[in-house]
Each structure stands twice: as structure tokens, then as C-alpha cells.
Symmetry: C3
Subunit: 344 residues, 3 copies
């Protein structure tokens, strides 16, 4: 594997499989039955030039659970960069202080530029419209884990990706990762103007998958295994798109009625979160809260073992961890990692 994790594009099928396996071995720690101190003495620089509480806390907690320490930095700019310091200087300086860097930045490509000047592993925690590879990996890990629980296989699975498929970087990265696996059937449903870019469809098709595009959810999905829904960001719409979208908005609500009438008892529902719970938001409906098919919180829970796997792999401790496990001594909530989204 590359010293960094900047994009899913650099990952081979073997490397993805390795990360899935390591993540799986991290479960006892993520579920707080075991602890390890394998990264004792290591320091993570968690650099968030753009706010993202959830992603920052997830990386921070994952590194701590491996025994390391974390130094968080948040804010739109570094104080030294305001004085004209180059990304090169900042990066090289930071690599003398910390042992790994997670960086989130609003500009596409900036994390790769940063990584080029550093001597320590850099993980892209999201670079604007660019990449967010740890999200795609935890999404794939969730599908893999849910399928194992349900006795299903990726071969021939039917997945529906819906919402904003044009700008949503999570669905772009996920579909690339999925395409590395055995042939499956992928249905895409998005409002007009927010379709999946054709080069991604071509890529997936060229790897033997069957891709189908539809304009509405008013279809039969009775053989569906996964719905992956994303928030439609209306602020990105042109006037024409807004008009057209308002007329058909109901078609994009994934809710209990849709699941009951058109899907089946084991169709799982995923979402990269956050979901917009405000009235009229047209996002994944809260009426599915408590339904075991709603996998969104198992999905975020899975961020911990997957991010642990990424750190463990980049820092080359994945083999050491199992020799270093100890029992947790403090109170362990029962539902972590295994609950079904019901209010506690």
C-alpha cells in the first residue's frame, strides 16, 4: 500500500480486502470488549481546515483506541499560513512533530499536495469535492458485514444508489470500491441534472457490473439488498433544476412506506450522514428509526474499526495488535456496534 491514503483510486482489490479483514479484527476493541496499547508513544496530528465534528472525533477516537495520543487542530486556516507559509513548509514541519496526519481541507487536491512534502503517513479526511476514502471504506465494510449477518453475498447483489449522484463524493468513491468486486447489479436514481457522471458508469460497466439508471423510485425493488441514499443539496441547484425538482420531490423520499411497499424484509438502508431531519428536507425519513433495516448507525459505528484498520495498516502494526489485547475493565454499554437504531 502507498504510504498515504489519499484516494480510493490507489487501492487494489487485495488492499481493500486486507483493510476489511483488519477492520473485522478491530471489532472487539471498537465494541469495547478489549483494549490495545500498540500505538503507545505515537501522536496523530488531526488537522481540520474545515469543520467536521463527526469525522474528527471518529479519527481521534480510533487512534486513541490503538493507544496513541491525538493533537487536534481546527479552523479554516493555520496561523502560520496566514503569514504566507506554503503548504510545503507547514507539511514538512508537522511531520517532525507527529507520526501520522489526518487532514480535511475544503480544496480538492490540497491533501495530496500536503502529503507530497511530508515524511509521515497522511490520510485524506475529505478534500472538498474530491475524495473521502475512509467513508467509502466504512461503507463497503458495512455492506460486507451486513451481508455476512444476513447470509448474503456480494455476487449478484442488487444495490440502489439514490439522491445527489452528481456531487456526492461518497457515492463516487463507494461505486469505485464496489466495482473491484464480483459482478453485481447497481441501480441509480437521481433527480434530472444530478445523475452519476458517465465516466464512473463506464468504469463500473467495464468491470462487468450491470448498471441501470432510473428517474424515480416508483418501481419494483423487491429484490433489493441495499439502498444507499444521500442528501440532495438544493443550494447547488440552478433555477431550472429547482423547478423541475420541486415537482417530483416526493419520489426521492426513502421512508417506511417505500420500504414496506417496494422493498423486502432484508433490504438495508444506508446514508453517509448527516441527514437533514428538518421538515420538508426530503432526506432519509426519521420514521425508519428503530427499524432493523435502518443501518445508518451501525454504519457510523463501523467508522471506528475501519479507521483503526487504516491507521494500523499505514503504521504497520496490524499483526502486533492481537498479541497485545487486554480485557476492558470499565463499564461497557451493551448496544455498541450491534444495535438496530432504536432509541436507547
Amino acid at each position: 500500500m502507498s504510504p498515504h491514503l489519499l484516494s480510493v483510486d490507489s487501492l487494489s482489490r487485495d488492499q481493500v480486502d486486507h483493510l476489511l479483514r483488519v477492520a473485522s479484527r478491530m471489532e472487539p476493541i471498537a465494541q469495547r470488549r478489549k483494549i490495545t496499547r500498540v500505538l503507545e508513544g505515537a501522536v496523530l496530528g488531526n488537522l481540520f481546515f474545515e469543520a467536521s465534528t463527526r469525522t474528527r472525533v471518529s479519527f481521534n477516537a480510533a487512534f486513541c483506541r490503538l493507544g496513541g495520543s491525538v493533537c487536534d487542530t481546527t479552523g479554516f486556516t493555520f496561523s502560520s499560513m496566514a503569514k504566507g507559509e506554503s503548504l510545503y513548509d507547514t507539511s514538512r514541519v508537522m511531520s517532525g512533530y507527529v507520526d501520522a496526519i489526518v487532514m480535511r481541507h475544503p480544496e480538492q487536491g490540497s491533501v495530496a499536495e500536503f502529503a507530497a512534502a511530508t515524511h509521515v503517513p497522511v490520510i485524506n479526511g475529505g478534500d472538498g469535492p474530491g475524495e473521502h476514502p475512509s467513508q467509502a471504506l466504512l461503507d463497503l465494510y458495512t455492506i460486507d458485514k451486513e451481508f455476512a449477518r444476513l447470509g448474503k453475498s456480494l455476487v449478484g447483489a442488487h444495490l440502489l444508489l439514490t439522491g445527489d449522484l452528481k456531487y456526492g463524493r461518497t457515492v463516487h468513491s463507494l461505486i469505485k470500491l464496489l466495482s473491484l468486486y464480483d459482478p453485481m447489479r447497481i441501480t441509480l436514481v437521481s433527480p434530472p441534472g444530478l445523475e452519476m457522471p458517465s465516466h464512473l458508469i463506464d468504469l463500473v460497466t467495464s468491470r462487468g457490473h450491470r448498471v441501470e439508471q432510473r428517474e424515480s423510485l416508483a418501481n419494483d425493488f423487491s429484490d433489493l439488498d441495499v439502498i444507499y441514499t444521500t442528501r440532495i443539496q438544493k443550494e447547488r441547484f440552478t433555477d431550472e433544476m429547482s423547478e423541475s425538482f420541486n415537482g417530483i420531490s416526493q419520489d426521492f423520499s426513502v421512508n417506511r412506506a417505500f420500504l414496506e411497499s417496494r422493498c423486502n424484509a432484508t433490504t438495508i438502508v444506508m446514508h453517509p450522514l448527516p441527514r437533514d431531519s428538518r421538515p420538508g428536507a426530503n432526506d432519509l425519513d426519521v420514521d425508519l428509526n428503530g427499524d432493523p433495516r435502518l443501518a445508518i448507525f451501525r454504519q457510523t459505528d463501523n467508522g471506528i474499526p475501519m479507521r483503526m484498520a487504516i491507521f494500523a495498516t499505514l503504521l504497520k502494526v496490524e499483526e502486533l495488535i492481537e498479541k497485545d489485547l487486554r480485557e476492558v475493565r470499565w463499564f461497557v454499554p451493551k448496544k455498541i456496534g450491534v444495535d438496530d437504531g432504536q432509541p436507547g
Copy 2:
């Protein structure tokens, strides 16, 4: 005990006694003679939607002293909540990342709403005009510890609560905790319009305590054991109150002259801090700095063992700690936890 600590209302006398006992056993750690690693592998999410450096650092340090790691978040809003995420979603997601949550929020009730959706223990670090239970517990612990030092007992003790008794949440919570104990005498002195709410006086009286209300400090307090003074927040005054208050403001200054002329040699002085040291602030006077009766810094020092006790109890490690103590190896300042407020 409830899985959370949201309010002092949920605490029984036995539970408060337990916390006082555990806090006392944390003293060797808080005074930096011993260390423990009992919470190794645990992560605290320290979520401050409202700034409070002192409270945040105190919880953070208490968790670290038990061996855990802390991930701080500060700022008026979560980035994801700005995108319409519900408190329910935020809470459920965070509980997959961390093992305990301290939350401070400007809106009353928001911490309880947050706790309802989570699977990990939540501690209310202050919810606006609502509750701040760890402050009340450390206040009670301070009285208990000072009384033990002075050979005094809570039975029949005379306490004076003064300042803003209407809006000051710390005095509300403290008086509730005190009311669980043996009958004592509580005198209330506040400017007109800032009196203690009558339902709290009724509660305390119904539990056998003697409560007396006065409008001025110009009285004999020679049998007084504790003065608990709070900052009067003039920004909350109506015009009428301002006029009336300005005429009598001197009566509410707790200073060396008051202590010398009206109290006794063992009357301790407490304050939830911060105190306003600006000229004309009419807050607890700095002329008491260095007087052994000034207990305000012993009081903040006590925040560490009490917050350790809260974490230890919620995470069920209070029995384990004593088996896990080791000697501190680094430099230990002599005065921590036992000094009298004198400049160092």
C-alpha cells in the same frame, strides 16, 4: 444510579454519600501522589456547545487522571447540526465513538434530550439556566471536607447563601443536595427581586431544615459556618431593580471587613467562580486572598476528585482503582488541594 448524571434531582442520599466517599478516595490521585490507569482505552467526548474553559479543562483532566483519553469539541454548534442533523442523530453517532460524554449546552433540557438517544453515560456539564450537577456535588464535597478538617458536623450547621439566589443555578442545586442531609440552618440574603424561588424554600423546609430570608448582610453571623456567595449578574436587572440595587450594593460585598466584624475564625467562604475582580463589580472581594477562610481555590481543586468520582461511578470502576494505584514519578507541587489561596 441512573446511567447518566443529568440533574441532582435524580440523586438519593445514598448515591450522594457514595460519590463523596469515592471522591475522597480519589484525593491521592488528584493531589498527584498516586496515579491510576484504570480507564485505559476509554475515550471521553467532551462536548461544549457553550464555552467554559474551566469546566472543560476540569472534566478533561479528571478523565485523563483515570487513564482515559479525551476528545474535546468546542463551539456554538456542531458542523453537522448546522446541516439539519437532529440532536438524536448526533447523540446516537457519538455514542458509537466514545465511552462517556460530558455535554454543556446553552439550552435547558438539551442535555437530557441528547442523553435519551445515546448508549453511553452522559454528564450534564451545564445546560443554560438548568442544571450543573457536578458543581453542586463538588460544593457539597468541599463543605464536607472543610467540616472534617475543622472538626465540625453538618448537623445544625449554619450556612449563608448570598447574591443572586433567583437565577444562580449553582445555589439551587446545592440547596437541594444539602436538604438530603441532617437538619441545618440556612440563611438567604439577596437583593430584592433576586430571592430564592419559593418552591425551593418549601422543599428544604419540608425536609426539616430551618430557612431564614434577610435583605441585607448587616446582621450578626457569629455562629456562621459557611458563606456561599454568587456573582450578581446586573445585566439581568430591570431598571427598577438597578435603582434599588445601586442604593444598597455595599451590603452584598463579602470582604475581609465583613468577615472580621460579623463572622468567626472558622467561617469558610465559597463561590462557584468566576468572580468578577473588576473595580465596582460588587463580587467577592480580593482582599480575602491569602486568608485561610477563603476556600474558593480548595473548592475548584475539589472539582478534580469529585469529577473523577462521577466518571468512576458511571463507568463502574470505583472498586478497581485502589488495586491499580502507582506512585507518581514526576515533580509534585506541594500545595495542590491543601493550600489557603495565598499567592504562590
Copy 3:
């Protein structure tokens, strides 16, 4: 040594030598070949009233590498100080929470005022135009280490300090530290109006060093051992200075051409960073990146062992560390602490 590190003025030659020796013994940890947990259980309060990501992360990482935990606070003011709390109260309260404090503050003298009220060691992380002693110590440590590598000695060495010598606090502190050592030759080159204050020149001269002031870099520096260049902050110029400076600005560029034409093969180039890499910034040129004489990143790398040495000395664990070393188990980048500034 004083319980605090507030200024280089308080340091004797013996104390500086001790810090250099301890820093040297920290190298295996800073270079991530060894780890120690000697500060286990200790908590650092890292209080940055003024933003400085680099300095904050460096202190944070140094404390973590010794096994301690860190609680960061950033922002222009403490929430409690906005309510009128004195620096005395804030300081005394914090000393009950943490075991050491690093404080950066925009006002000269504020860190010393803070230290006077606390019971724990305080390190000045920069107080506006005042002091930044850890920077001067890491600069001296860098010269010492580079000289050892090159087989040179401080006795009779020739150092050039250039740039803003009037306002640059780093050169003031550095020249004071250098003056404690054996006689050397120090050349000062600055634009008119930005000369080194005469009381500092007098101090250094009175200790037996040879100091020479020049107005331009257009001289022969073929026997030069060290160039220490600083950023010229044009925002501090009067109109007259701006005019005069614009005419001669080229003379103050330290770049590859200058090094090739006027210096020698072992002249090392230092800078306190950040350097302004924007076009026309007239700061240290990026065309030296990759040249082994460019020591600026080795210099920032050296911040870790020196800050570890400061913590270890103030917390009196410098003798314990060597008994407590363990091997690093995670991936160690090859170039940390030894590279030459080349892009990675």
C-alpha cells in the same frame, strides 16, 4: 533552575548546558526509535490565548512523547476572563487541574503574571514582543548539533544574524544565549531602522564577543558558519523606512545565489519560521529547498527534543527517562530529524 521557564535571562550557562544535554538524550524518542511513559498520569494545560498552531502542536507532541496527556485551549480570551476574572484567579484555578502549563499570550509580561499565581511549572510559549525562550533554546541546540555533525566548535565561530533585528524576539533571545558561550564573531545585517537594540550589542560585547554591524549582505562571508535569517515584517514600517527599504530590498534575500557566491560549503541556514513564500516576500528563498545547508526543518524537528528536555527538567524526570525506554513498535519514517529538507 527556577520552577518556571519565562525568559532566557534567568538561565545560567550550566542550566543551558543541562538542557542541551537532556535534549540530546531525548533524540531516540523524538526520532521515534524509543518511547517512554515517564510522565504517565501528568496533564499539560496548553493555553494559547493567541493562535500558533506550530508551537502548540510542538509542545503538545513533546508532552505526549513523555507519556503525559494534554488539554489544549485556544482563543483570544478565556470565557471566564470575559466575565471579569483576574489572571490571578484563572492561574490559581488551572494549577489545581493540571501539572504544567504552557502559555502564549499577546501581551508582554502576562505569562510572568500568570506564573506568579500558580503552583505548577509555567513555560512561556511567547508573550507578544516579549520572550519565547523555547525557540531560542531549540535554535542554540540546532547550532550545537549541526556543529557537532560538521566537526565545528562554537569557539571563534562566525554567525550572521539578518533581517528584522529590532522587533524579532527570537534573535534577541538567541543572542543572549550565545553570549553565555566562548567568544565568537557575530555579524548583524539589517535594513536601516531595524537594527539590533544597542543594549543587547553592549551585553554581548561585554561578554567578550566580537560584534560587527553592516547594512548589506554584499560582503564576503566565506568564513561564515551560520546564517540566521528572520522575516522582515513590512507592516511595522514607517513611510520613510518603506521607501528606503524598497530601494535596497534585494540585498536582504538569502538564496542559493548568495550562498554559492559569498558563503561556503558548510554554512548552515536557519530561520525561526514561518517563512513567507509568496512572491516578492523578500524572505528566505525557496530555491534553497533540498540544499543540505538549509537547516530550517532540522531546526523545527529539534523543537521536540528541546521541549521534551524543558518538560523533563521542570518536572524533574530527566534522570528517570533512560530507565524507562522501550522500543517503538509502529512504523518509523526514515527521515525524521536527519533529513536535509528535500521534498519527500
